[in-house]
């Protein structure tokens, strides 16, 4: 079952927190809503669940308008950051809750609870209480509870944010496996973490300031972002203001060769290059600047180089002989690793 937002606007006391969102999640698709806090992504999810009421626009589930339905009539599975497991019920009672509320037959309830716990690897903990489980285990139970009602749509609201980094990557793989096992379930996955979005999502909707900024597959957004916000939020990026010439752009007195098709010569634009695609030393598309900061990150070194008043980041495989602060170094990048974006905030 797909989800469709049809110019959904949500406001609290005249304060718009979601501004006319148009978005379609196809049946069986994983859509990540990615954005910083306050971007409206959680509000969008809550509008699907029925916990906030849009002031205008419609929410459709599988073609059915559910805007006016109360949450309990929507048939949606939901997993939230703080798990929200019922503390007075055992794990199996938690998972059975939705089935009991729907008056499912006892034998079927038992079977589906067992199946959901099996699927999330929590079968051995069925008789425990939530307080006896670790955070990761509690989140698995919460997922099992949401899956037990066999929803067509699963809403995940920052499901991994309360877990530590190591558990998070494990759970990310689990979620990907669940999605492969349940190919018909559409998932709306709210996160502020671009790694989660890039790993899990079929498509990513980037949100900022209550608006949808961009929507596309992870590769599209990463390789050719449409605007500065998307470029820096998805993957991180060097954004420098340039002036477009005939066969390239000019920046800090240097001529750089990049693809300028579709952009008028003489226009101002923003050059976007991913930090890990920037190399140290001489090469085509050369930038010269002063090293202002060096961070050693184990496998990589990150250099911050100031080029004509703009900070350029370079992620380099661990250097045997890293430059020192204040050294003048040359950086370079390949022409086809750069993207031209419309001029934005980086122009000041």
């Amino acid at each position: 079952m797909g989800i469709r937002f049809d110019s959904v606007t949500v406001a609290y006391d005249g304060n718009v927190v979601l501004d006319s969102l148009d978005l379609t999640v196809e049946p069986g698709e994983v859509m990540a809503l990615l954005g910083p806090s306050g971007s409206g992504k959680t509000t969008a999810l809550r509008a699907v669940a029925g916990f906030v009421r849009p002031v205008s626009g419609r929410v459709l589930l599988g073609g059915r308008d559910v805007t006016d339905l109360p949450p309990y009539q929507r048939g949606i599975g939901m997993v939230v950051q703080q798990y929200a497991l019922f503390p007075h019920m055992r794990v199996d009672e938690n998972v059975a809750f939705g089935l009991k509320a729907r008056r499912t037959a006892k034998s079927e309830t038992r079977q589906r609870v067992a199946q959901a716990l099996e699927m999330t690897g929590m079968a051995a903990y069925a008789r425990r209480h939530p307080r006896e489980l670790s955070g990761g285990q509690q989140q698995r139970v919460a997922i099992a509870r949401a899956l037990a009602i066999r929803p067509d749509v699963l809403l995940l609201d920052e499901p991994l944010s309360a877990l530590d980094a190591q558990l998070r990557s494990g759970m990310l793989a689990e979620l990907a496996r669940l999605h492969r096992e349940l190919p018909d379930v559409s998932m709306l996955y709210v996160t502020h973490d671009q790694v989660e979005a890039l790993t899990l999502a079929d498509r990513i909707a980037v949100m900022d300031k209550a608006r949808l900024q961009a929507c596309g597959t992870p590769k599209e957004l990463y390789r050719s972002p449409a605007d500065e916000f998307t470029a820096s939020f998805v993957g991180g990026a060097n954004l420098v203001p340039v002036t477009v010439g005939r066969a390239g752009v000019s920046f800090a007195g240097a001529e750089l060769k990049v693809d300028t098709s579709g952009v008028l010569a003489g226009a101002r634009a923003t050059l976007c290059v991913r930090p890990h695609l920037v190399g140290l030393g001489e090469g085509p598309n050369r930038l010269v600047g002063t090293v202002t900061e060096i961070q050693w990150r184990g496998a990589t070194h990150r250099l911050y180089v100031e080029v004509d008043g703009h900070s350029v980041m370079a992620d380099l495989r661990e250097l045997k002989d890293p430059p020192s602060l204040g050294d003048v170094v040359a950086l370079h990048f390949a022409s086809d690793d750069a993207v031209l974006l419309p001029a934005g905030v980086s122009h000041g």
Binding site: A49, G50, F51, P70, P71, Y72, Q73, R74, G75, I76, G77, M78, V80, Q82, A84, L85, F86, P87, H88, F97, G98, A101, R102, H129, R131, A142, R145, A146, I149, L155
Partner: protein
Amino acid sequence: MLVHSRGAKWAVWAVFLLLFVPLFALPLLVVLGASFATHWSSVLPSDLTTANYRAATRGEALQALTTSLLTATGASLLALAVGTWAALAGAALKKRYRRIMDALFVLPVAVPSVVVGLSILVAFSKPPMLLNGTRWIVILAHTVLVTAFAHQSVSAAITRLDPAYEQAAASLGARPSYVLWRVRLPLLLPSLTAAAGLCFALSMGELSATMMLYPPDWTPLPLLIYGATDRGALFTGSAVAVVLMAATLLVLFAVSRVRTRASYR
């Protein structure tokens, strides 16, 4: 503890005992001593006896104890039901209306209880609502007096209740009534039992409003104590007072046992 140095800790304990013992503990110990006495003319009571207790646990006194227990149980259960209902309903109201409702429930506490007793007596002395002369007027008065406390403590607990629980329940397809019985009330249970205990204790000790309206066949224990001391039977009165105290504490202890089992974190 906020105080770290050894000397300061001793000082804090000394101040605590100096304030606590004379104000809270001594009077109760005096009543306990008096309940075993036949005379008390020097420092300590003399001619110790258990006759006071024999008198305090039979006949009129036993009847009054049953009356008090029944009244307090009835009033606290009624207050809990009404207070919880109102608190749940209030939680769904807008802030302005909720304030009005809170004020309404606090009214019987803000007004002197003698006035509450009098107003209930006047209001229910004529048909069609003739309760005067029955036990129900006592239970009603106690209910009115203690509902405020039930309402207040349950309200506070509802505000603290994380809405994530009921939202998770709703998303799983549970109707509001199912969510109420299976999720919200069980999660509120610790506060509900605490509120019930408080109401029970308050009702067990209520005197001033009860005095205005109790019928002869429904005399709660505090009135018996008052009557006994009024006649000058101080030592019998003390024994009855100890019985009242013990019965109340016993019930509170049982309630707190339920509460310990009902708290989840």
